[in-house]
């Protein structure tokens, strides 16, 4: 049916491609059934579609092929695209990150999977000194259209060497782009944008979100769907306090906002989506509206994402603050293994609620540690 409409309108001399997009939008509005998709399926479909569209895209990492992916993100891709485009590698992060960078230097578009970003430290020289800096140091002669992806941050009961959050580490480096999706739509749109981007992108997923289901619009299901890099999303509009979060903490923030709403505090929740570049204008505009800010992250507090957001607000919206910024982060200890200790090391919904109340001067105890 789409084709007939296209032909009819083509007679009027309208350009076909933009027309097709227009028709798709109209069509998608017609179908408003909310389809659900897990983050895992979203990532898988994004990689699949990008590999399908561009023969230069290939994925490489430990267990991505035969094993269908350590977390099954690359399920089915080996059978579909063959071992030349889905490469199982020996256990050498430095090796396959280096190979990926070299392949990107010479025109391919690799998607490198780290089993977790904790292991990316064994390859961090290639990511920082080669991938991030090469375009600048070669004065544009060597571009690196590579994506490094994998689970980042705390999982459940995996201890200190499997729970580190690297958002702040990579975001401090110019030359890299750092993305952190939350929902399935984020996962699809941002991963597609990352693969298409000519610059090196660090794509921080979250193991505990892989199995979570989110509704996706028909627009998001389209193979040309893409989200802009550098734009945050306002997940919930509010007027009393701004809460910024990324990845899993967005879900916590939204739940905290529900609790706060019952107590008369209307929170605005911002899903950062992009840590570098940080969407400072959206965050500042929101704080100028609400006058209060709570930043949330799972990672360690010193030099963290929240610290950078605080600095940005102080520099640009100082006069608009009615209260000090509340910074919620993971405990400043290597992640303990025992379940009770782990729970205390990671922000919980109650922490967010209490912080928001403090920012709104509505806590019953004025102690800083609530």
């Amino acid at each position: 049916m789409l084709r007939i409409i296209k032909q009819r309108l083509a007679y009027n001399g309208l350009p076909a491609p933009t027309l097709e997009q227009g028709i798709r939008v109209i069509a998608s509005r017609a179908y408003s059934t909310a389809k659900e998709m897990t983050v895992r399926e979203a990532l898988n479909s994004a990689i699949d579609e990008e590999m399908s569209a561009d023969p230069k895209v290939f994925i490489m990492g430990e267990e991505v092929g035969e094993y269908q992916g350590a977390y099954k993100i690359s399920k089915g891709l080996l059978d579909k695209y063959g071992p030349e485009r889905v490469l199982d590698t020996p256990i050498t992060e430095a090796g396959f990150a280096g190979i990926g960078v070299g392949a990107a230097y010479y025109g391919l578009r690799p998607v490198i999977e780290f089993m977790t970003f904790n292991f990316s430290m064994q390859a961090i020289d290639h990511i920082i000194n080669s991938a991030a800096k090469s375009n600048y140091m070669s004065a544009g002669q060597i571009s690196v259209p590579i994506v490094f992806r994998g689970p980042n941050g705390a999982a459940a009961g995996v201890g200190a060497q499997h729970s580190h959050c690297y958002a702040a580490w990579y975001s401090s480096c110019p030359g890299l782009k750092v993305l952190a999706p939350y929902s399935s739509e984020d996962a699809r749109g941002l991963l597609k944008a990352a693969i298409r981007d000519p610059d090196p992108v660090v794509f921080l997923e979250n193991e505990l979100l892989y199995g979570e289901s989110f509704p996706v619009s028909a627009e998001a299901l389209d193979s040309s769907f893409c989200l802009p890099i550098g734009k945050a999303k306002i997940e919930r509009e509010g007027k009393d306090v701004t809460i910024t979060a990324f990845s899993k903490m967005v879900g916590y923030a939204l739940q905290a906002a529900e609790i706060l709403a019952k107590e008369g505090i209307n929170a605005e929740v911002i899903n950062l989506r992009s840590i570098r570049p940080l969407d400072r204008s959206t965050i500042n505009a929101s704080v100028r509206k609400t006058n209060r800010l709570v930043t949330i992250e799972e990672g360690f507090p010193q030099h963290g994402v929240g610290a950078e957001i605080c600095a940005s607000i102080l520099e640009e919206s100082f006069e608009y603050l009615d209260a000090p910024v509340e910074r919620i982060a993971g405990a400043d200890v290597p992640m303990p293994y025992a379940a009770n200790l782990e729970r205390m090391a990671v922000p919980q919904i109650e922490d967010i609620v209490r912080a928001a109340k403090r920012a709104c001067y509505k806590s019953s105890l004025l102690a800083a540690t609530a």
């Binding site: 590999m51 399908s52 569209a53 023969p55 035969e66 579909k80 695209y81 063959g82 071992p83 030349e84 485009r85 490469l87 199982d88 590698t89 020996p90 050498t92 430095a94 090796g95 396959f96 990150a97 280096g98 190979i99 990926g100 960078v101 070299g102 392949a103 990107a104 230097y105 010479y106 025109g107 391919l108 690799p110 020289d125 290639h126 000194n129 080669s130 090469s134 375009n135 600048y136 140091m137 070669s138 004065a139 544009g140 002669q141 060597i142 571009s143 110019p174 030359g175 782009k177 000519p198 610059d199 550098g230 570049p277 400072r280």
Partner: protein
């Protein structure tokens, strides 16, 4: 989806080895039929026990390409394409992941050293005459003269730029003194299509490929004409049009990257390979292991060249590794390797020609260890007399000088005279001094280049920073350097 499927199959077809499966079985010794001068080399290989291991690695890689990996077939009898006549007694053989092994009731450790070190391939004697019985690829007059002239140019360029640093005109320099033969003979043996991933002591490759003395000077001075736009330290040259990747300081990172470049190059189906360099020190890096191992597993067409010049800043090779140099490491990765006298231009030329041909024809990596001596200091930040005897340096600078040896050979062929020598040296010196003067006077890159190329497109925050910086400079002009054009 069906369309994309067939396209990806085509890509897979490009990447299949050029040799058909049946040919793999019979390839024990590569056949260098084009030049009879290689009969000795290939004959040596056949008699050498290494040949069998070449064969079995061929089989293993063959298996990986055409069957699923062993892990999924652990219990099954893996089909072996070689005949059982290879084993004297069926009962003496065991199946393990990785293939069949014979077993022995005698416990025997492999010695950590062998009685004899791997010999190095040499063609020219110190007197400039070819050693009797030596086989090498002939070099015609034009090539030989260009090689010698380039070696001289490289040597003079190194001396003059080193002096310029000592005079404070550039901030840093690093010479290749003593390794001119490795630089130039390798370059001469390659083609312009071969992609170079250098360490940092290989500017001779660029020189051979047409990088001018002015272009070298521009990079060292970081001026507006520098292809690197003043972003990198001196000697970190890079040029796309010469197929020479911008030099990166961290050691050995280029080795796994070379395998990646080769992976991409394979798809272009060009008669070309990737050439990655490292020094003896670089072989200690984790990336050396990852790069060679991976190149072997992926069957990437990479020619690894190790310049074993005896010193890694102040670390002599006795403190770098305890193996017999670098050449023996090749076999550990299943990579064919050779050791060559790096100060013998003809030997290096022949070796690289042969190795390159192997890499391209068989689409697998080869390792070349070129023995040499680092005559200069590590760099201008080093004074090597502090950790090695001066007479040792002098000995290698004079008695074992690669230029002297090659010059004797070229001279004996009647292709070079003393007049040519003095004329060349005088001319090069003048050109270099002019190049330095011009480079010094050339403007530095403009302010806009401070912010460009961080990303492929200028992001909004950098755009704002640039605006803000320009405003600040306008207000406080005296606080900013005057030689940076706005």
């Amino acid at each position: 989806m069906a369309i994309w499927f067939s396209r990806s199959r085509k890509i897979a077809h490009f990447l299949k080895p050029k040799i058909s499966p049946s040919e793999f079985l019979y390839k024990i010794c590569p056949n260098y039929s084009n030049s009879s001068s290689f009969r000795t080399l290939s004959g040596e290989n056949c008699r050498n026990p290494q040949a069998f291991s070449d064969y079995s690695t061929t089989i293993l890689s063959f298996r990986r390409r055409w069957w699923r990996p062993e892990s999924t077939r652990a219990g099954e009898q893996v089909e072996t394409p070689y005949s059982d006549d290879d084993y004297e007694d069926e009962n003496q053989v065991l199946d393990f992941p990785g293939g069949r092994v014979t077993f022995t009731p005698e416990m025997k450790f492999i010695s950590e050293t062998s009685d004899k070190r791997i010999p190095c391939y040499r063609v020219l004697g110190d007197d400039g005459y070819p050693i009797s019985g030596s086989k090498f690829e002939q070099v015609d007059k034009e090539t030989a003269v260009k090689m010698y002239e380039s070696m001289v140019t490289l040597q003079i360029m190194d001396n003059i730029f080193y002096e310029a640093q000592r005079q404070g005109r550039i901030s840093f320099y690093l010479t290749s003194l003593g390794e001119e033969a490795i630089n130039i003979a390798t370059a001469a043996a390659l083609t312009l299509d071969d992609v170079i991933l250098p360490q940092y002591r290989e500017p001779g490759i660029l020189l051979w490929r047409g990088f001018t003395l002015q272009e070298f000077a521009n990079q060292c001075f970081g001026n507006n004409a520098d292809y690197g736009k003043g972003r990198q330290m001196p000697i970190h040259y890079g040029s796309n049009k010469h197929n020479f990747f911008t030099i990166s300081s961290p050691i050995a990172t280029q080795l796994p990257q070379a395998a990646g470049v080769a992976y991409s190059l394979k798809m272009d189906k060009k008669e070309a390979c990737v050439v990655a360099f490292t020094g003896d020190g670089g072989t200690s890096e984790g990336d050396f292991h990852a790069g060679l191992n991976f190149a072997a597993v992926l069957e990437a067409p990479v020619l690894f060249i190790c310049r074993n010049n005896g010193w890694a800043i102040s670390t002599p090779i006795s403190e770098q590794f305890r193996s017999d140099g670098v050449v023996v490491k090749g076999q550990a990765y299943g990579i064919r390797s050779i050791r060559v006298d790096g100060n013998d231009a003809l030997a290096v030329y022949s070796t690289i020609r042969a190795a390159r041909e192997m890499v391209i024809r068989e689409q697998k990596p080869v390792l070349v260890e070129a023995l040499s001596y680092r005559v200069g200091h590590h760099s201008t930040s080093d004074d090597s007399t502090k950790y090695r005897p001066i007479n040792e340096i002098e000995y290698w600078r004079t008695a074992r000088n690669p230029l002297v040896r090659f010059q004797k050979w070229v001279h004996k062929n009647g292709w070079w005279t003393d007049d040519d020598e003095s004329e060349l040296r005088g001319s090069i010196r003048k050109q270099l001094l002019t190049a330095i003067q011009v480079a010094e006077k050339t403007e530095k890159p403009p302010l806009a280049e401070f912010f460009s190329d961080v990303y492929s497109h200028l992001p909004s925050n950098l755009h704002e920073q640039e605006k803000s910086l320009r405003e600040t400079i306008k207000r406080h002009r005296q606080d900013y350097p005057t030689d940076v054009p706005l």
